[in-house]
């Protein structure tokens, strides 16, 4: 059974429809519609606890959905789990190795189970474990275990790689090697779907990203798409002594203004371009406003990610970056 064909002839590697999962009344994944195209690298982003692993667990049949459905490589996740796992390489999250088995035995097990004919040594060399092939995995560091799991995922040249937080425990060098292997796999024709809570890891390699927050997909686009959307939405936050409707009307009618909102003493102005700030300030002063502070929000993609995955309703791109210096990366690891 081949991948599902869409109307626009684009092939779909992963597709979910209203996929949902609730644990004891806590919604982990909420009405998720994902579409990962064949041959692309899809970054599945979100803070810890956003529902990324639950989604992957549902795709793999570890956890059945509470509602909704999905296909992976054209196979239904509920009824054809075995068939989809035959063609998928999995790097799971929170896995444990078999302490008493060597790296070679681990990879052999994956190769045999997949009925493939790879050479375990070649796979282990590829992930940088050449000198640990016959060592017991019980003594491996987290990074080595991660490499071992990747070697197992690569067995049998899978059509899809499902990698759950693949960079966990890897140093920058290891993360770079991981990216290089992902690129090789895509060049071979594989589709790669991987989750991460750090945008920096996916920016360089993803064709598209989906951003998950509290179980919902709050954005899905190419990196360029997200960036351009964000650039067009440059923000100006002007603090004045007393915002009035006249001032808002004046700002709204200024050329280049996309949107105006009042937040307490602030007037939050969305602009088409960066160079439209001066006319806005003139308009406010002409309308009788006394300006006490001006903040220009010109954030990076990191800020976009932070905005999407923390406060606000997920569409409020500029405001959360206001109180920080523009472009400063924001720690998202503790946001679970």
């Amino acid at each position: 059974m081949g991948p599902v064909e869409l109307g626009d002839q684009q092939m779909v590697a992963i597709q979910t429809r209203n996929l949902s999962r609730t644990f004891d009344e806590v919604v982990a994944v909420d009405d998720l519609d994902l579409e990962v195209h064949t041959g692309e690298v899809y970054g599945f982003l979100g803070p810890n606890g956003a529902g990324k692993s639950t989604t992957i667990n549902m795709l793999l049949g570890f956890v059945p959905p509470s509602d909704g459905s999905g296909t992976v490589l054209g196979h239904d996740i509920a009824t054809e789990s075995l068939a989809l796992r035959r063609r998928t390489g999995v790097l799971p999250e929170d896995f444990g190795v078999y302490d008493r088995l060597t790296a070679r035995k681990h990879v052999e097990f994956a190769i045999e189970t997949k009925a493939a004919d790879d050479d375990p040594e070649v796979l282990l060399e590829r992930v940088g474990l050449a000198d640990a092939i016959d060592r017991k995995a019980g003594g491996f560091s987290k990074g080595m275990a991660q490499r071992l799991a990747l070697a197992m995922a690569l067995a049998g040249d899978p059509d899809l790689l499902l990698l759950d937080e693949p960079s966990t425990g890897l140093d920058p060098n290891g993360a770079r090697e991981m990216r290089s292997i992902i690129r090789q796999e895509v060049d071979r024709g594989a589709t790669v779907f991987f989750s991460s809570h750090i945008l920096g890891q996916v920016e360089a390699i993803c064709d598209r990203v989906g951003v998950l927050r509290e179980g919902r997909l709050v954005a899905e686009d190419t990196i360029e798409g997200l960036r351009s959307e964000f650039d067009s939405a440059a923000r100006l936050i002007v603090t004045i002594d007393e915002p009035t409707d006249d001032i808002v009307t004046a700002v709204r009618s200024t050329a280049g203004v996309v949107d105006v909102r009042i937040e307490e003493a602030d007037i939050v102005v969305s602009l088409e371009r960066d160079d439209r700030k001066a006319p806005v300030i003139n308009a406010i002063e002409d309308a009788g406003g006394t300006i006490t502070d001006i903040t220009s929000a010109d954030p990076s993609l990191e800020d976009l990610f932070a905005a999407l995955t923390t406060d606000g309703d997920g569409t409020d791109l500029g405001v959360s970056s206001r109180n920080r210096s523009p472009g400063r990366p924001r720690a998202t690891e503790g946001d679970a």
Binding site: N57, V63, R85, R86, V90, G96, V97, K114
Partner: protein
């Protein structure tokens, strides 16, 4: 069907544990050591050298005591241990079904129990052949086969339990409970019923068929019954240990020996079926 790979992996993994070597040493000591006791006793009292049959019979009860404990100990962590360590994500991320995992575990762990049994019997066989008159290879193989079947029964019970629960502690608690009920308290069930109905305690013979059936439903008793078919020697004694000699009246079909095989099979299949049903719907997150 990838259960064979799971079994092989599991055998390699569990087989590299110290447990296997402890078990092997224990079984060598048991088979060689215990079987030598009648000889040593006879030598000490200047009695004539005992027969092979007495050595084998002497061996029977420690096997019946030790193998259930070994089988349960080897099996109870088989699946829940992988759930706790997270290695089950490898197992089930690869194209293994949950049936494959269960079947592979039973086969792998039975292998883990079988290896020390075979080694123990090989070493013990030399000792027994040297000490006793009339070594009967077929009977000895029968006892070996019987021991492996017994190991399989208790491994299946333990793997079924291991598949049913989410923590090692629960598995251990259940295994101990089942062991106590099945191997220690079971005989009190027919006995109590008999007392309630008859206001007296049952003897050894002239028992109602239901009493013997209840007794035989325990894995230990069912295994004892099939041991009579596997080891000729055991059926040759003066006292008829089989149901035929103990039941009042005709022997119903469920007390015939073939039905004991059905009960033994039940003790393999039912725990695994229960474990499978629980494991199938288990959330692995």
């Amino acid at each position: 069907m990838t259960w064979l790979h799971v079994a092989k992996k599991d055998f390699h993994d569990a087989g590299r544990s110290r447990l296997l070597w402890v078990l092997t040493a224990l079984l060598v000591l048991l088979v060689a050591g215990v079987a030598a006791i009648p000889y040593v006793l006879a030598a000490a009292t200047n009695d004539p050298t005992p027969t092979f049959e007495s050595g084998l019979t002497f061996l029977f009860s420690p096997i019946g005591f030790l193998i259930p404990i070994i089988g349960l100990a080897v099996g109870y962590r088989s699946i829940v241990g992988e759930r706790e360590s997270g290695s089950i994500r490898f197992l089930l991320g690869l194209p293994n079904s949950r049936e494959d995992v269960l079947l592979g575990k039973v086969v792998g762990r039975t292998g883990v129990v079988t290896v020390p049994i075979v080694i123990g019997f090989a070493v013990g066989g030399v000792v027994i052949a040297a000490l006793y008159q009339g070594f009967d290879g077929l009977d000895y193989l029968g006892l070996l086969l019987f021991t492996v079947v017994m190991g399989l029964v208790y491994v299946a019970i333990a793997v079924g339990i291991s598949a049913s629960v989410s923590t090692r502690g629960k598995a251990l608690g259940l295994v101990i409970t089942v062991y106590a009920v099945v191997d220690w308290f079971w005989t009190f069930i027919p006995m109590s019923l008999y007392w309630i109905l008859e206001r007296s305690f049952p003897g050894f013979e002239d028992l109602p068929a239901w009493y013997l059936l209840l007794e035989r439903l325990s894995p230990g008793q069912a295994l004892s019954a099939i041991s009579l078919t596997l080891i000729d020697t055991f059926g040759a004694g003066d006292v008829d240990l089989t149901a035929a000699g103990r039941v009042a009246g005709d022997v119903p079909f469920y007390l015939e020996t073939w039905f004991a095989w059905v009960i033994v099979l039940g003790w393999i299949v039912v725990p695994l079926a229960v474990g499978y049903l629980r494991f199938r719907s288990a959330l692995l997150n």
